[in-house]
Subunit: 406 residues, 2 copies
Amino acid sequence: MITIRGGLTAPKGFLAGGVKAGIKVSGRKDLTLLYSEVPAVAAGAFTTNRCKASPVKVSQMHLKGKTHQAIIVNSGNANCANGRTGEKDALDMASKAGKLLGLDKRMVLVASTGIIGRKLPIEKVAKALPGLAAGLSKKAGSDFAEAIMTTDTKKKEFALEITLGDSSVTIGGACKGVGMLYPNMKTDKHATMLAFIATDASISKRMLEESLDEAILNSFNMVSVDGDMSTNDSCFIMANGLAGNKRISNKGSDYKKFTAALKYVAAEMAKMLAGDGEGATKLVEIEVKGAKSVDDARKVARKISTSNLLKCAIFGADPNWGRIVAAAGASGVEFDIDRMDVYLGPVKALSRGAIAKTFEKEKARRFFKGNKIRITVDLNSGPSAAKAWTCDLSKEYVAINSDYST
Amino acid sequence: MITIRGGLTAPKGFLAGGVKAGIKVSGRKDLTLLYSEVPAVAAGAFTTNRCKASPVKVSQMHLKGKTHQAIIVNSGNANCANGRTGEKDALDMASKAGKLLGLDKRMVLVASTGIIGRKLPIEKVAKALPGLAAGLSKKAGSDFAEAIMTTDTKKKEFALEITLGDSSVTIGGACKGVGMLYPNMKTDKHATMLAFIATDASISKRMLEESLDEAILNSFNMVSVDGDMSTNDSCFIMANGLAGNKRISNKGSDYKKFTAALKYVAAEMAKMLAGDGEGATKLVEIEVKGAKSVDDARKVARKISTSNLLKCAIFGADPNWGRIVAAAGASGVEFDIDRMDVYLGPVKALSRGAIAKTFEKEKARRFFKGNKIRITVDLNSGPSAAKAWTCDLSKEYVAINSDYST
């Protein structure tokens, strides 16, 4: 497994483009397209929010098809809570993009991010599409990563290579999302995080779906910026087979190697999201171990990752570990506090339910002053572990979200 | 039902006191006592956090007894995550207070609030107790309300009178809690909100417990400042019978009148908590109606009340109703967005899943500039309703919680 440069267009046969369609008030890039030169199998995971944006509904419907070749994405407008007009506009985006690319609309997937409850300016999309389609290229992969940004401060791309049999297989991804970020996605269900992954692996649609499910569980679905689950969260993967590896059609060793690589890509992208959370100054990794089950470990880790109080303490470099204890206890998971240990980085704070005799607050405070914070909770009650990622909660988060006007 | 002045000592036979024991670094009042001149029946509801503070465990144990006569409370130290020492100290608080008052320790209930994970300075408690016990009085009811404050900016007291038969019955309360505030309490289980209610009603212990359960469900358990459930939340009620009403021992009309009054007291106290939330500039009331069940309505209302994004928008007076839609959809309750209406105060924003044709953003913004914000969500799917209370999320909240040092 080798990390390489680039993102979505690193795998063979993928082209991209990103343009300014005038949807964003800022005038920045806001319409983008990912295109596979050959038909690809695709899978998608979407928010489990009851109020799903129109593009989510359209993509879910289109994913019932066998193969796909393009994803059209706009930022600046979520196309959510727009009633029937919203669905018509999302379908229109797909069919207009399809027409330009010579594809049936059902081969085109759709995603949107931005403000909820405002009509998508489909006429702006229509006007910008021909230039976008004509300008598709390998090197514009990073334009894609730029054009999906909203309050993101940096582009988020990642790529790696693995070897399956005699073939070199590449997986590349791009993602966005730094607020309203608390995805809980499922394949065949629904997260405004947007993540796009492209690979030239040859794999069946069914195996691709299963691999994606495994990958999101311990990556995107373990990230929180603010605990607010979006109406638009979507994670797409397209696999076009151009690597020429022996097609993965069962859970053999190639599936396991591919899935391990996909998990790595997804986890790296998830960390980029948390680290760039709105107003964030620090990336926080919370590992829970010694849990009775992975599900328990995930619940405790995720609950800690959404504690406003802890996130404020981390912003202030205050090693207030009591807030970790309180959050863990509020997770709904049954455990015994008298067996619980808590570490702030390398510093043991809680030992079997009471303050560790060796705890040095100033040492912990120094550690909390860094920009990568690691918290470990050991429940000492079982074999299972999970990691969650979040960021600190700063005054800037409040500024961004009280000024970000409708 | 008449609202009257005063708080905990408004009912007959209750005395209180509050002193400076030196537990708080600020040097403010931090030790307080509520005393009934005659034995009272008592009930308590406590946090459902797995990590329960020692005073919670001790109070739960003592509440197994038939009658109680005092509650000793310290602020500045949560006495949580202190292992066995914590429990010994909490018991010590009860027994030392009991000794001075001539009561068995099991007749004394205990509560603590403050920093987690630091040993309770029991010697300071012991030193201050004699003065506290000697100074008990009717007029010191408000000292009690003062001495339980941590980051609260104002004392929270409320009292009212009802008539049962020929007797005038008084219910008075005091509470604190403006951060780590997301109680979910149950009687015989466990919320650092602290609420204390005293009444001179004559009522059986069993009926008092049931009445308290009904009252907290639609009051304290529907308040959120930050979504962080405490290890120490406790709500106590003592009923000493001195009003002389016919003893309430079944769910007849007197029970219903008493419970209606208790619900009113608890709801008024709950609103005081939310309105004084850390850094709060506005009190927010969220009403969900048209739900299939009360439980559904409660879940949707509570989920909306914990949306950081919505709370930031309210701080900025931004009528960003899309954040209400997203939060409602993330509640886990099944409903159809195409039937959903949302009102910002009197202004209809969402109508059957799409923006209301009559929506005037500037009108909504003017409403959001007030300091009491009312949001109504109508799911149009059933007969049930519930209300939740929260406050806006300000830069000051972050300042308070990143500076509030361990």
